[in-house]
Symmetry: C2
Subunit: 570 residues, 2 copies
């Protein structure tokens, strides 16, 4: 795997970085009691030339039914970097490209195989929990070049995707009834891993850049173990980029601030980053494109170019990760191939300190063993064919596509509603860091376009604010605040003792579903804490722009605009 | 998937079988607290035609890099059923066959796809924890026809192989510090799942057919909760066929007896069956082939034939499983494709009651999700191409090969030692059930062939018994007892306070490794209970015959014979 990147080699010089500190007091009883393999002493004998091994219990590859596996793969530059805002032809995005493919075949046996050779006799055999050496080799290069951890002795370990990864972390760090720091709106799939351990969620308030350092500091500094009946939380679960469900992305300065608080209170940061390469930056409404600053225009243009400059612009555009600030080894990062290759690979990796990697390896040996050899073989050969530069080019195509799709959805709101850009409308806080870069990364409030309730150029909004959202700077979601306290029935419902917010949102969700538009209701993501984003009177929908076509976007948001007019009786 | 099997349809009539009883009191706190997916209510809306779904968080299959996946597969009858005892050409087993292959290609999109169609747009996408419907459909037919569970409402659930399966069971049934029934010699990989929970192993004595009902009854009936400081064990982990490490196989009558004891004491039976289709029956020494009974000859011959009669003979030869006797739903069976297809698939399945299947599904959602779509797609299409009959034919080839390899190893002992067939030599109990079928399924003791210590036709053994084993009736292992108490230094070592058995076995193991022969030492498999197989003065090696060639077998056992002569100073 070659790489032509001009990152100075001294940045890879691990010798100048500190080693991870001892954080073994974070291991739970389960992790402390994990035993090494009792037959481990045999492994060093197995590699001796001429050794006749009757010690293992492995089948002969001769009887694996698969003689070869092949794949036809999209060319690495299949997806164009400079995508038109509105598709020229309807339906699938495939109008964008002249589909070109390359192919490869993996035989059962390869002559003169080296440890990084992928052959079915090895891939479809039992493998060490660390998987085929070719994958960690590639991933270490990727982590070093893209994340640049601040300590020296980190390593990577394969897992079966982020859900598997987070489950393994939970069962390494948490005891029954512990408390865990989460974002005030959080991913329910992550909760499912610790709910069975009766772990209490401790939600931290957020704005458009993720959790607020001030609130995190407040929660940790005022934690009363006696009053709460449990120890101060030692684990923080976070999705820093394109957060699910809010779409918030945390930039470098904020991460540094959060990291320092976690050092102060000895908290392990678990960053779940499925959307990291889907960091698409701020949404720029069509009407504002012309008035962009020259610097901003150049930054956007740089990423549309093939070649080295474009590759470097992409890497430069990525937010620093928590690993970049991690000089102690207290960050456990979860990456996945689900969004950059395919979810069916069930393949991801941890980046963490030797202590955590070793315990996670033991946990892997006693559960999933290595990820499926079909997945690791296919993914490893794909990466070997592409190389580091090729993989970066592939990621850029994916990023360009998510930006296009984000534009489709946000532009459609722009078309069907009157938009008001507001620094902090209705409890939806803005993202100052993004706003500093490009002034459109702000909260947007949508008003009806109907004649009687619409927008008047002189007088502003004639009707109530209906919905607000922060245009996401990453990921695949728009988190939509619905101003239910503006609904004509809201106050009478409240007076009658109903939970008017939930009741009205449920009614709106059902009406939309009946009209063939399916949004995810926000209540599923509520960590049930005090809210900075939303709260009483504001309900939420999470809208994914990852899969709907341009036409479906227009149809769904158009229907939504109509339904809202009826719902608010405008 | 068609099937021409003539199994009477009334055997499939689940209506006449009882339903699983309520065993929910076996669920641990973790399992009781598992929550259903909070967005579950959305799923029923997702399938409505015309629905625009913005509710999910899934990437578009357009951007999966794989356009097609293909495989070249061995023909289902590649491996001959009638294999010569000694290979005609050296080295690999492939001399056996004229390798013929078939191939298939899985496209990203298939026109007019049905729920059982395998296409990459589905396989490489997020999938339900239950996996692609084609697989459970096939597996339900297989379980119904081969295992014939005694209750009606069982189901199957995919997992990532048996280690993953057993881990999920442990975290569904066991609490910290529980006790778990195991075989006196057991698989250390299984221990690794419950050791972190500080679960105490309660070993049950075995003979050549597995655990002894009398000892199981004794342990359960005399369990003193106060004295032991823990509740009576509620879980029994067992490998009934080709047990690892002993090679023991339990037949029907014994299973029924064990099952009834488990009903009496409310124990859940977890049967781990990687070697089920590798049930190869008793070893028949070359010298005894001619004197076989006509019935025995016919049974052996039937399995060598292609076509329906041969298929039926194979199915008839398989031992009944615990499921066959399970009228309550207290058996959780683990099957895997590791030995019948390839370990790298990391694919297996549970067969269990609705209660356990539902909780295991929740656990799967919060950990591995579905197995890798690469593995399920390849395996599902392979099974679809082969069909039920084809898969059975494939299994027969695998079985024939393991029988050949078992013969290689046992025959080699026959060549390098003097063998004495003994009903119960030196603490190695025999397997009466097998002996009743064919008289050679008995314990075998090996004596040196050197002139001074060898075998005399008239006087019998001149030297000490060196090793004993029960020729395995299944699996891939010979479990070899070494009579260390016959070693010239044994008693002096004992008098000096050493653990002579362990010390001498370690020395022998090291000598063999230095001579390029690697066996697995038995101590790794010791559940540290009272022994019926072995004990003080008897050390063990586990020898795998799954991967060594004919020549390697002869070289390794030949070296072993020489080393033993030197070791015992014969």
């Amino acid at each position: 795997m070659d790489s032509s990147f001009a990152i100075p080699t001294d940045q890879y010089d691990r010798a100048h970085k500190p080693k991870a500190i001892d954080l073994s007091h974070h291991l739970n009883q389960l992790a402390l009691h994990r035993a090494p393999n009792q037959l481990k002493e045999l492994y060093r004998y197995m590699g001796i030339p001429g050794m006749i091994t009757m010690a293992g219990g492995i089948p002969s590859p001769e009887f694996f039914p698969f003689e070869t596996l092949s794949a036809e793969m999209l060319a690495v530059d299949s997806v164009p970097l400079d995508q038109p805002r509105v598709p020229k032809k309807p339906s699938l995005l495939s109008w964008l490209w002249q589909k070109s493919t390359t192919s490869f075949t993996i035989p059962k046996y390869v002559d003169h195989a080296t440890p990084t050779t992928i052959q079915l006799a090895t891939s479809l055999q039992y493998q060490a929990a660390t998987g085929p050496p070719a994958l960690p080799l590639f991933l270490r290069e990727y982590v070093e070049k893209i994340y640049r951890p601040a300590y020296s002795d980190w390593d990577v370990l394969l897992n079966c995707g982020a859900t598997d990864a987070w489950g393994k972390i939970v069962f390494m760090l948490m005891e029954r009834g512990d408390a865990c720091l989460v974002e005030e709106w959080t991913y329910p799939g992550a909760e499912n891993s610790f709910i069975p351990l009766e772990v209490e969620m401790v939600p931290i308030k957020m704005d458009g850049q993720g959790v607020l350092p001030s609130h995190l500091e407040h929660v940790l500094s005022t934690w009363d173990e006696k009053k709460r009946g449990k120890k101060r939380p030692r684990v923080f679960y976070t999705i820093p980029t394109g957060q699910n469900p809010t779409g918030a992305t945390m930039l470098g300065d904020r991460k540094k601030e959060i990291y320092d608080i976690c050092v102060k209170y000895d908290v392990i940061i678990c960053e779940d980053e499925p959307y990291y390469c889907l960091y698409t930056g701020p949404w720029i409404p069509k009407s504002h494109e012309a008035s962009l600053s020259e610097v901003a225009k150049r930054e956007l243009d740089a990423e549309k170019k093939e070649g080295k400059a474009g590759q470097e612009a992409f890497i430069k555009s990525l937010p620093p990760t928590y690993l970049t600030y991690d000089y102690q080894g207290r960050v456990i990062r979860m990456d996945t191939f689900s969004k950059t290759s395919c979810p069916g690979s069930r393949l991801g990796w941890f980046t963490a300190s030797p202590l955590f990697i070793e315990r996670l390896t033991r946990a892997t040996e006693a559960s999933t063993q290595a990820p499926s050899g079909f997945a690791t073989a296919m993914t490893a050969v794909m990466l070997q064919k592409w190389g580091f530069d090729g993989y970066i080019r592939w990621l850029r195509g994916i990023k360009a596509t998510y930006r296009t799709r984000k534009n489709w959805m946000c532009d459609t709101f722009d078309d069907f509603f009157h938009l008001e850009f507001d620094p902090a409308p209705h409890g939806v806080a803005t993202n100052p860091a993004v706003r500093d870069v490009l002034e459109f990364g702000r909260g947007v409030t949508c008003y009806s376009k109907t004649a009687k309730s619409g927008w008047d150029e002189k007088r502003g909004a004639l009707g109530p604010p209906l919905i607000s959202f922060i245009p996401p700077s990453g990921g695949m979601f728009v988190f939509l605040a619905v101003h239910l306290d503006e609904h004509p029935d809201y106050h009478s419902l409240e007076r009658n003792g109903a939970d008017a917010t939930r009741k009205l949102l449920e009614k709106l969700w059902q009406t939309l579903a009946d009209r063939l538009v399916l949004f995810a209701p926000g209540w599923a993501f509520d960590a049930n804490g005090p809210h900075a984003i939303g709260g009483k009177g504001v309900g939420y929908f999470r809208l994914s722009f990852s899969i709907a076509t341009y036409e479906e976007n227009r149809k769904a948001i158009g229907t939504f605009a109509k339904v809202l007019n009826e719902f608010y009786r405008l």
